[in-house]
């Protein structure tokens, strides 16, 4: 069994089924998107036990006993997660296709900052406390491609939601 958004789901019989295809084709959880199926675009990002995972490069059977949260598990159209609302407020998307992956990725990314995980642009690698600068956010979100060019709105939304979480 895998837990997906709090519900237990049996593993697929076909060992080749990716976590992404299990979600989209097996469970009709199509909020998780397929943009390349080769780990290059980040549209399929989901949270596995709170960490960002590219679900197209993950075989579903590898995740037995793990807990997956998809965009549908973060919030619904009637009851949005604060980051989802911030994406709307700052127009952090246009077509909306990369958006669920951006949002899941940002949730995981903010937790990495909280845990003090450094990135390529972190100045002091020894420091245990990190601040989310715009460049930290940009660097850490660079695995999530957006072709419509909503990058500014996405970074603004992340900062806005972080502010709200802090208050």
């Amino acid at each position: 069994m895998i837990t997906i958004n709090g519900t237990g789901v049996p593993l697929p019989d076909d060992l080749r089924v990716t976590l992404l295809d299990l979600l989209r084709d097996g469970l009709n959880l199509s909020g998780t998107k397929k943009g390349c199926n080769q780990g290059a675009c980040g549209a399929c990002t989901v949270l596995v036990d709170g960490e960002r995972v590219i679900s197209c490069l993950a075989l579903a059977v590898q995740y037995e006993g793990r807990s997956i949260v998809t965009i549908e598990g973060l919030g619904t159209a009637g009851s949005l997660h604060p980051l989802q609302q911030a994406f709307i407020d700052h127009d952090g998307f246009q077509c909306g296709y990369c958006t669920p992956g951006q949002i899941c990725s940002a949730v995981g990314m903010m937790d990495e900052i909280r845990r003090g995980v450094p990135s390529h642009v972190t100045e002091d690698l020894a420091s245990t406390t990190l601040t989310l600068s715009r460049d930290e956010a940009r660097e850490r979100m660079s695995g999530n491609l957006c072709r419509c060019g909503a990058h500014n709105g996405i970074i603004d939304a992340i900062f806005d939601a972080r502010q709200e979480a802090a208050e």
């Binding site: 390349c36 549908e72 609302q85 709307i88 077509c95 660079s142 060019g149």
Partner: protein, 777 residues
């Protein structure tokens, strides 16, 4: 098709030339837009407000249904096999092993595919949608490296993907022309674009160039590009009897419906194409072979078929922007007045399509040069047909033209903005038509002030920050106003005062439903929540292309026409007991959920009241937009002034864009929030064009070498600085709502602004895109 289609286009062009002369001379009031849209004067409504997207909650929660996500019972999955030679024939195609693989239902090849006509190529007929007109899996011929040769159908995607590896093909290759230089050496011909030769002359430009006091003569090259929308092309084809339904990702649902109907010999209404959300288009989500193959395969196996291209598949069978080689030669007097503007060059296309990348379009209306020579030559290669990609022509044409203007300014020792302003034309330099609205000088002035242009150091390599050289550059952005024929809309007004608009338009990120909900609400005098805007379905009225930055104008004119019909109908049914009795449609407007006399607002009756008195639940009207004669009566263009700051690393050569400002003159902005995103999105794609994007084409065998998002680099978060945008917001009196298109202009001028900033930083002129670090080391 080339010859027949060229002849057809030429004939169409000749007729248009006669008509356009008559239209140019007609009085303004006879022309659509001759009387300004009343909404232009309406400044306190919903239009112009930064309203968040009406479909935002659906998109951020993953609930917006894209093409591959519409559940269809009994759907089977498809996987494609692609040819590995550029030209020849399939000698053998062994599908037995694949057919025997677990879960496989059938393998479709040219041997068993249903017989179909070839797709009508885009621009060959009003509703033609095909990326090219090659037969689709009908014979053993191979026309490009990557052409689909087999469709494997199975119960799951995994089964189909595995089985396709078991299809074995061998080929008999024929000599293919895949080398651009070789093709050019064999001879080129003048490009034909929308019926007109891509060739213009004013005076003797060569002579004037020779006599000019100051000249520059530069060559520019731009590579192939791919749209790379993040949503993969996907379609689900479902036959019910002789009716076909396609769940598609499309920027032209009505065109697709008609085109597929032609191929299968069916009535148009029997092909229903829906596309409620498109995950990015940029010109790439039109009709290519995948929709046709899915429809054919679904007929073959009598089951619904879902075909989602792999990312590699998108590169193999959905065309992108072609390469260009350009010469820009400018001659000026010592004061900077242009005496000669020569912009010529060569592009590659195929024999099967009708798009020679029209890179001379910007030069046609940019500057008041005394003489001009513009020319696009084409060669035909054995390759995947190229197609429209965001600002076809202008995106790469402004790179050559606007870099050359910067070079001329440097040679004159003149500020590049000053040079451009000195050459501002008073009327269209080629057609002589008056501009509908041109406030480029204002965009330059306000942009320069906001950017801090006056602090620029004109001498290259004058600013250093540690190991980084810093420079600034600028360029003009330009894109025409288009409105294509065929717009139509339906409005249904219900007794509770709710209006529903239906039009076969598209949403691929532009904010279509949002902006037009605002427009319709203002036009009818309704609150936003009393308007529903429906689109993305070929059964709705209108032939509306989401392309050419024209969808807003097309929808605007269609809704205006339908609104006029609605008002006439309402007055008619309101009868003699209404305060509106005796008024004509021209005397009333929408206000406070009803109609009121324009001069005596007290004469008002609500829609609910009119409908209830006449005992109607609802009324529905439909109307066609007038033909777009305004584009023959005025020269209609959007403009922008682009400003950029770059940093170039002196050790690695790495170029980074650190600041960007776009100052636009695009008429009235309907929604500042979504418009900002459109402008920024174009600029960011321009940043990619400038610094990293290239579809690498192996000239030995015609194969695309980097068919993945790992090897074709698009800008990522770390590449994108905070981008500022601003606009004049001066309404165009002759455009619906006063608004010209904004979807494409952002990518124009951006490449040149970046290249010019790199020159200012480093002293190096890089005239070959993309400007990668090896060219700056």
């Amino acid at each position: 098709m080339s010859i027949v289609n060229d002849a057809k286009q030429l004939a169409q062009g000749l007729v248009e030339n006669v008509v356009s002369t008559a239209v140019a001379l007609a009085p303004d009031s006879w022309i659509p837009g001759g009387v300004p849209d009343p909404l232009i004067a309406h400044r306190h409504g919903h239009v112009g407000k930064p309203i968040s997207r009406v479909d935002g909650a659906l998109k951020v929660s993953g609930a917006a249904p894209f093409a591959a996500e519409i559940p269809v019972d009994g759907v089977v999955f498809a996987s494609l096999v692609y040819s590995t030679i550029a030209r020849g024939r399939i000698a053998s195609l062994d599908t037995r092993q694949a057919e025997a693989a677990p879960g496989v239902i059938a393998v479709m090849t040219y041997q068993n595919a249903p017989r179909m006509k070839s797709p009508p190529a885009f621009l060959s007929a009003p509703k033609a949608a095909g990326g090219d007109d090659a037969p689709v899996m009908q014979d053993d011929k191979v026309r490009w490296n990557g052409e689909p040769i087999a469709v494997v159908l199975a119960h799951s995607q995994e089964q189909a993907d595995h089985a396709k590896s078991l299809v074995h093909a061998s080929y008999e290759s024929e000599a293919a022309l895949t080398d651009f230089a070789e093709a050019r050496a064999r001879g080129s011909k003048t490009g034909l674009f929308m019926g007109h030769a891509l060739h213009d002359e004013i005076g003797d430009a060569d002579a004037a160039f020779g006599e000019s006091a100051v000249t520059i003569d530069s060559h520019f090259t731009t590579p192939r590009h791919n749209h790379n929308a993040i949503e993969l092309h996907s379609v689900t084809a479902n036959w019910t009897g002789d009716k076909l339904r396609l769940h598609d990702a499309s920027q032209l649902v009505a065109h697709t419906s008609w085109s597929i109907a032609q191929m299968f010999g069916m009535p148009e209404e029997n092909v229903v194409v829906t596309s409620p959300f498109v995950g990015g288009g940029f010109g790439g989500k039109c009709l290519w072979q995948h929709q046709i193959l899915a429809a054919a395969a679904a007929r073959l196996v009598n089951r619904p078929v879902r075909l989602t291209l792999s990312r590699e598949g998108v590169y193999r069978m959905v065309g992108g922007r072609t390469l260009t080689e350009q010469r820009v030669a400018l001659g000026a007097n010592a004061e900077g007045a242009l005496k000669a503007l020569i912009h010529t060059g060569t592009v590659a296309k195929t024999a099967r399509n009708a798009l020679p990348e029209p890179f001379i379009l910007p030069a046609r209306s940019a500057y008041a040069s005394e003489t001009m020579k513009l020319d696009v030559q084409t060669v035909e290669l054995d390759m995947l047909s190229n197609t429209f990609m965001r600002a076809p022509g202008e995106s790469v044409g402004t790179f050559g033209l606007e870099c050359a203007m910067d070079e001329l300014a440097a040679k004159l020792g003149m500020d590049p903005i000053e040079l451009r302003l000195r050459n501002e034309p008073e009327k269209d330099p080629l057609s002589g038509l008056p501009f509908s609205s041109r406030n480029l000088a204002e965009a330059w002035r306000s942009g320069a002030e906001r950017f801090g242009w006056s602090r620029r150091k004109p001498t290259p390599r004058a600013t250093r920050d540690g190991e980084w050289l810093v420079g600034v550059g600028c360029a003009t952005a330009t894109y025409p106003y288009y409105r294509m024929p065929g717009g139509a809309a339906r409005i249904t007004l219900s007794a509770d005062g709710h209006a529903t608009v239906e039009i076969a338009a598209h949403e691929m990120g532009m904010g279509t439903a949002t902006a037009h909900t605002q427009v319709v609400a203002d036009r009818l005098g309704l609150p936003l929540d009393a308007v529903t805007f429906l689109y993305g379905d070929s059964t709705m009225p209108g032939v509306v292309l989401a392309g050419g930055s024209q969808q807003t104008a097309s929808i605007g004119a269609s809704v205006t026409a339908a609104h006029r019909a609605l008002v006439a109908r309402l007055i008619e049914i309101a009868g003699n007991d209404s305060p509106l009795a005796g008024l004509s449609p021209d005397q009333v407007g929408g206000r406070d959920a009803g109609l009121s006399h324009l001069e005596e607002p007290g004469r008002h009756e609500t829609y609910a009241s009119i409908l209830s008195r006449s005992r109607r639940e609802s009324i529905t009207v439909e109307a066609n937009a007038p033909d777009p004669l305004e584009t023959m009566h005025w020269s209609m263009h959007s403009h922008g002034a682009m400003f950029c700051e770059v940093r170039v690393n002196t050790i690695t050569g790495e170029p980074r864009v650190s600041r960007f400002l776009g100052s636009f003159d695009c008429g009235r902005i309907l929604n500042p929030k979504t418009a900002t995103s459109q402008f920024r999105g174009g600029i960011i794609m321009g940043l990619g064009l400038a610094l990293m994007e290239e579809t690498q084409f192996d000239e030995r065998n015609g194969r695309i070498m980097n068919p993945s998002l790992a090897e074709y680099h698009v800008p990522v978060h770390m590449d994108v600085p905070d981008i500022e945008v601003m606009w004049t917001d001066i309404p165009d009196p002759h455009a619906p709502m006063g608004a010209r298109g904004i979807g494409e202009i952002g990518i124009t001028g951006t490449g040149a602004a970046i290249a010019n900033a790199i020159y200012n930083a480093t002293g190096k002129r890089v005239r070959d895109l993309p400007i990668t670090l090896d060219k700056l080391m």
